[in-house]
Amino acid sequence: MVQSASSGQSLAVLSALLEARTGQQIASHRSTRVDTVLLPLMRERRIETLDQLVYAVLDGRDPHLAGRVIDALVNGETSFFRDRHVFDNIVEVVTEVERAGRRARIWSAGCSTGQEPLSLAMIFAERQETHGTPMPEIVATDVSEAAIARARSGSYTQFEVQRGLPIRQMVRWFEGRPGNEWVARPELLRHIAFRQMNLTIDPAPGGSFDVVLCRNVMLYFAPEPKKRAFHTIAGAMRPTGLLILGAGETVMGQTDLFQLASAGRGMYQKSDMGDPAPRA
């Protein structure tokens, strides 16, 4: 049986591992959750206590174990068309970019299991059909290997496919498989380039973006990793680009690279600090 009481030391090790790998901190009030989310992995590996799990991670005989622990600890909560109004703003930005004669580029940073980039792909594929507009380039990244693998597969449970996704779009863009599995059609998936990437360590995907979504990703980041992530994002954005954070997030007091954009709540543009004018 799995012991519910986890030792403070084990928690400290897991917390350090999580912070080193993702920049995230385990808030102390979430410590009960730690046991719960690691339970399936511990069962699978026949590990009985959190302490034993920590030993197993530290002795390094199973090189994949640390990654699996991280995958379990990060919160991947997401849904299709999360905060719907955000997508209207993105369409506006993309329209502007098209007017300027360019093909827009969008980066979904911290895309979890792919609902966010797939929502974008549906909007723009439908817009392409009705308006003949070009498909923007969509790049989607996440630190979790497991999340990226699922995102690439485009496969969702019945519960997931019913969160935020209108039924007409489900019929249009998904196929039903036995076992209540719903899979995004290849012609939709092919519009998205998925990549594993750690926002606090790795370089950004190449080129510069018109829109970056980094929603509900940095909530539990420690201050330093958060600064680095903002820096990476700023460096990957066009001067006129738009950064979109989650509904409850802000740049205020976190970074001076960004400032509130006129587009509205949760939208940010680079400040003079984030996009220094070239010196004469």
């Binding site: 849904s79 019945q158 019913q162 209108p166 007409r168 489900m170 019929v171 039903g176």
Partner: protein, 121 residues
């Protein structure tokens, strides 16, 4: 307050749905089959109908047809809620005028999400 008519021959499903819907601030009425549902609609048109497919006396599909013929003063939103989860059934429901479709089993998130999509919350 928006009103929701829950149409399902299972008392348990109606009870679960009612509980969730009430916490989402909807006013709930119940019907055990299509015929009862039609009577309820003639009395007062609800804002949204959560509609099961297979029911004794009158099925969800037959109810939809009868509803169209009844010429109500306004059209309620229709959200199918059924164990029929194949593409063919879903397409048929959309063709018959359903606004949304829930594949059972549902949970709070599903119901909340679908009601949002039809503008009820």
């Amino acid at each position: 307050m928006k009103t929701c008519l829950v149409v399902d021959d299972s008392k348990v499903i109606r009870k679960v749905a009612r509980h969730i819907l009430e916490t989402l601030d909807l006013q709930v009425r119940e019907a055990g089959d299509g015929r009862e549902a039609l009577e309820a609609c003639l009395e007062a048109v609800p804002d949204v109908i959560l509609l099961d497919w297979n029911m004794p006396v009158m099925s969800g599909m037959d109810f939809l047809r009868a509803l169209r013929d009844a010429n109500l003063p306004r059209r309620p939103r229709i959200v199918f809620c059924t164990t029929e989860n194949g593409m063919a059934h879903i397409r048929a429901a959309i063709d018959a005028g359903a606004d949304e479709y829930i594949m059972k089993p549902f949970d709070r998130d599903t119901l909340e999400s679908k009601l949002q999509l039809v503008g009820m919350i």
